[in-house]
Structure formats: C-alpha cells, structure tokens
Amino acid sequence: MDRLTRTLSSVFTYAFLGIMAFLSIFPFIWMILGATNTSIDIVKGKVGIGSALMDNIRAFAAAVDVPLIFWNSIKIALLSTALTLIVASLAGYGFEVFRSKYRERVYSAILLTLMVPFAALMIPLFIMMGKLGLIDTHWAVILPTLGSAFVIFYFRQSTKAFPSELRDAARVDGLKEWQIFLLIYVPVMRSTYAAAFIIVFMASWNNYLWPLIVLQSNEMKTITLVVSSMASAYYPDFGAVMVSAILATLPTLVVFFVMQRQFVQGMIGSIK
C-alpha cells in the first residue's frame, strides 16, 4: 500500500516534470525543426524535419555578414562582461571589507539606481553618448553596463561568505590590500565570478534596446538586432529567421552548460 502510494506519487511527479520540461524545451525544438523547413511549411505549422536547412543557411548568409555580426556580439559581450566583473567585484569587495562613515549611504544610493527604469535613462544617456562622440561605436554599448548595481550587490552578498580569517592571515603574512584581493579573494571566489560571468554575459548578449538605439550602421549591428530586423519583414523568411535564432541562442547555451556547476555553487555561496 505504502509502496503503491510512493510509486503513484513519483509517477505524478515525473509526469508533471515531464510536461513542464516539454513546455520549456518545445520552443527550442520548434526553432531547430523550423531551421530545416521552408518558410511556407513553418507558417502552415509543419512539425517535422524538412530539407531546406542548407537553403535557409544560404539565405541567412546572403542577407547579412554573419561572421562580422557574430564577432560584434561576441566582442561586446566579452568586453562588457570582463569589465563589469572587474568593476563590480572591486566595488562589492570594497563595500563589504572596508568600513567608512558613508559606506551604507553610498551603497543604498547605488542600489536605488536599480529602481530607475532604463526607458527613463535612454534619452539622457543618448545625449551623453552623442556629446562624447560615441554614437555608432561599440563603446557606447559597453560603457553604460559597467557600473551594474545588481552585480555589485551580488558581489557584496557573496563577499560576506569570504572568511575574514583568510584576510587577517594574509595581512599578518605581509600582503598588501591589492595583493589580498588579487591573490586570495579572486581565486577563492572563483565560483562567484563564474556565476556573475554567466549573468552578465547573457544580459549583454541578449541586450537589445540600447544597442538598437546607439548602433546606426549595418557593420556595427549585433545578432539580436539582425534577428529582429529579419523577423519583422512583411513576409519574413521564417527558415532564415530560425537559423539566425539558433545562432543567437547558441553562445548563451554553451556558456551556461560549460559553467553550470560553478553557477550553482556561486548561487549557493551568495545565499549562505
């Protein structure tokens, strides 16, 4: 009896999880199947593998300079991730480790910026970039992301788990403050960096509105802009759109799977 209930409950659990997994994976399957079908078949709702994959890839490659666009996205994502991690980890470490009279006030002020919606910042930011002469450059996309309040917050929370004994021991051993940060803190907090890397990389890779506003020429565009432009035609070539969508999803998938374990550890670390 008891065993029956247990089996039943696990059947339900798995059925439920199965349905949920299907719901979240189906769009990806659809995207991949779509890339192999012609636009007309996709609109008709065909589910199944078609034979138009090469045609779709060719159509996509003919429409845009794929390597250039891909490189633009990679460059922006990697640069802004690396720089954001440097800025935010230094800030998070500093806020947690060093005491000062104004620490909490400054910190709250930074957190408050989380509450300002980006739409409200867009026009002033655009004017700023215009005055700096950065419109239509990749720096205009990268620079505004660097002082990310959320990532600073995340690093400060994680730093709480960084044992102060380690720092004290390092000080006794005669390390300077910047050496403690570089030689002790950074290696110990590896998983925190990994998790932050995933978060920032994904946000930057998928960033849409701001690159759209500041990037003006075809040569500067990122992959998200290209997908949007292709999908919004009066009669989109959905096959080619699916190919571009796969290309746009791939890097985030790779980054996530490669760093998955560190990601989970990093998340647990920040809660502790």
Partner: protein, 421 residues
C-alpha cells in the same frame, strides 16, 4: 568646386571619427533607415544603384532595422536633439505620418519646391501634408482589391462578372452560397484585427479623425457602416476565424477560403502558392451602403521622409525626386522584383503594369490596381490612428457576437479619448 571643398571641410570638422571624415571627403553618403530586407531595403538599394549611375559622387547607404525599431530610434534621437546621428532619409508608415510631422515640427523637410505632387495618388500626398506643406516622397501603396477563387465561385454557380460592382450585402449572399455548395468559407478574418474596418471606412472617405484631425467616432457614418458590416459578416457564418497574421495568411495559402480582401501587397504571397495558378481573379472591393461609398481603399503603405537638419538634405531630396517621382522604369522593376505598387500615377504606362498576369489567368490586374489607386479617397490619418485602432479592435469580439453597434462606438470613443491624453 568651392562648394564641395566647403562640405568636405564641414564633414571633416563635424565627423566624430577620422575614418568617417575620410569617406565623406571623397563621396557624399546618403544614409537611409528602413525595414524589411526583402522589400524596402531591396527597393532602396535598387533606387540607389540607378541614381549612382548618373551621380557617381553619391553613395547610398541603406541600414535596415525592424519597423518598430526604426520608430524607436527615430523618436529617441529626435527627442534627444542629437541630430548628427540621424540618417538623411527615413521610412515612415503612412498611419504614423501625421504623428511624426506634428510631434517634431521642423524635423522633416518639406519638398513642395522640388517635387511635383500632382503626379502621385492624391490620398498618398494628403496624408503627409500639414498646413499646405508636404513632407514625404510617396512610396508603396496598399490599394485594396478583392481576390477571389474562380474555381470555388464557379462551383457555387458564379462567374467573374458576378464579382464586379459588389455591395457587402451581395458579397455575404454569395458567401452563403459558396459555403453551401463548396463547404469553403468566404474569407479569413482575425477578430482582433481592425484592418478590414479601416479598409471599409476609408473606402467611404471616412477615418477615425475628421479633416481637421479631430476624433470622429460616434457621429462617423463610415465607421458605423463598417462596424455594422463586419458584425453581419461574422454573424452570417461565412468567415473563418484566424488567430494572428500568419494564421490569417494560411487561410488562403492553404486553399481554405474563397476570397481575400486586403492591400495589393498580398499579391506576391498569393502568387507564391504555385498550385493555385489560374484559379484566382481580382475585382474591386464591395461598397458600403453609405453616402460617398466607393470601391477603392487602402491598407498600410509607407513613404520616405528627408531629415531637415541633414547636411545632405539637398542631395537626398534630389535623389528621391529623380527616382521616385520620375523614373517609370524603376517602378516596373520593383513591381516585378518585389511586387511593390508605388504611388506615381504614370507608372501604369510601363511594360510591367501593361502585362497580363499569367497567374491570374491573363488578367491585366496591375491596370485595375492602378485605376483603384487613383480613386482611393483621401482622409486625414491624424496623430493617434494606432491608439484608436486598438480601441476598435477591443470592441470587435463583442460585435461578432451580435453586440450593439452604437454601444461599441461609444466604448471606442471613451477608450480612444483616454489613450489620446
């Protein structure tokens, strides 16, 4: 010579990067923002190629973004006042024309001094005119037609002659016969889309706004007739409900419904279904039963605008004027390659417009569309067409269930007023 020197000097001073300055010193760039790589972008590149032949010093650069994105970029940039990053020419959808011209006075260049607007379909000129000044180079038209399946109608006992000079009542009557004899519905209809309402309303010279641009809902005979007709269409059971655009398109590409009433730009999609060759005919859309009703209307369409602050303003206007206002051959090419119907009336004299279309059983369909194009009633699209459109769309499901038209008009007016504030 002196002028070129001056402009190159200006380019050197104003350009933000040295690379850009070098390019500008050699040739002038005309930058264009528009959407749809297969349509507007391809057409503009073609226009650029034609113009560059006679003007080798001009370099046409077409940048493509999604339509909503062009609008977002344009609004942000105009609002920020950083005009150096604006393009020289931008594509704007006709329904939004008045909004841009009136919200950003002085941002767009009027072209009355250069362009002979009498050569274009009058409704395309009027929609971009404010206080006697016209700000657009009229481009693609959404002149409407009634596409019908000759085979289905024949099975139901109707000949192509029976499809001419229709009223909506007659259309519904035919639809019932077709459904009875062939089992096919008469048209696909998205109950959340007000497109058909707009077609019917404009065919009778009405719009959500009167000539002065003021909201005109409860006393609007054309709108009332359109809503009543759509209610009747749904109640008669001859429509096949469609969920969204792609689904609507598939109602006829799959051979499900017997007619399509929409803008001329759908022709390419219909012709893409090769197995339906020779099965389609084209007729004028049915007339509403109100004063001023015609059988010509419009759905969608867009036009080119020159940014007034652009350093290449003169060149940009000359480019648009030489190709879009004069070159009849260009219009033949874009009709054949992209299926684009422009607004230049002379274009119909070209070879492509004169050709009998094999797909439509040898009918000269482009001449028909050219006829209707000249007859589309001019209306004022106003500043808030999109806002009122969603108010109308919100009332459509209730109307389909037999709701009261006057109550719907009141509800539309209330919602429109609140979203226009």
């Amino acid at each position: 010579m002196n002028k070129t020197f001056k402009t190159s000097l200006a380019a050197l001073v104003f350009s933000t990067s040295s690379m850009m300055a070098m390019a500008a010193a050699q040739a002038k760039d005309i930058t264009i923002w528009c959407w749809d790589p297969n349509f507007n972008v391809a057409i503009m590149k073609e226009a650029g190629a034609i113009y560059s032949k006679t003007h080798p010093d001009i370099n046409i650069k077409v940048v493509d973004f999604a339509k909503a994105d062009v609008e977002a970029k344009l609004q942000t940039t105009l609002a920020s006042g950083v005009t150096t990053s604006l393009p020289d020419i931008v594509l704007i959808e006709d329904y939004g024309a008045q909004k841009y011209i009136q919200s950003f006075p002085g941002a767009f260049a009027s072209m009355n001094d250069v362009v002979d607007y009498s050569k274009f379909a009058p409704y395309k000129v009027k929609l971009a005119t404010v206080d006697g000044k016209t700000y657009s180079m009229p481009f693609d038209s959404g002149v409407t037609g009634l596409y019908y399946r000759k085979d289905y109608l024949e099975q139901a006992g109707f000949k192509p002659e029976d499809m001419q000079n229709l009223t909506w009542d007659k259309y519904i009557e035919i639809g019932k016969k077709v459904a009875e004899k062939t089992g096919h519905k008469m048209m696909g209809l998205d109950p959340n889309d007000a497109g058909l309402i707009r077609i019917m309303m404009q065919s009778a010279g009405g719009w959500y706004f009167n000539d002065k641009g003021e909201l005109n809902i409860t006393g609007n005979e054309a709108l009332k007739a359109a809503l009543t007709t759509e209610g009747k269409l749904i109640a008669s059971g001859i429509t096949k409900p469609a969920a969204g655009w792609s689904n609507w398109v598939s109602t006829f590409t799959s051979g499900d419904v017997a007619t399509v009433i929409t803008g001329v730009w759908i022709t390419g999609t219909i012709k893409a279904t090769k197995d339906q060759e020779n099965k389609w005919g084209v007729a004028a859309i049915p007339k509403l039963d109100v004063k001023g009703a015609t059988d010509a209307s419009n759905l969608g369409g867009s036009s080119w605008y020159v940014i007034a602050s652009s350093p290449e303003k003169k060149e940009a206007i000359d480019f648009l004027n030489s190709v879009y206002a004069k070159d009849v051959d260009f219009y033949q090419k874009i009709l054949v390659d992209q299926g684009a119907v422009g607004s230049l009336m002379e274009a119909r004299k070209g070879a492509a417009y004169e050709t009998a279309d094999k797909f439509f059983g040898g009918e000269k369909i482009w001449q028909k569309f050219a006829d209707w194009l000249s007859k589309v009633p001019s209306v004022n699209y106003g500043v808030f067409t999109n806002e009122v459109d969603s108010a109308v769309a919100a009332q459509l499901p209730a109307l389909g269930k037999g709701g009261d038209v006057d109550a719907a008009l009141k509800a539309i007016e209330a919602q429109a007023k609140s979203s226009m504030q």
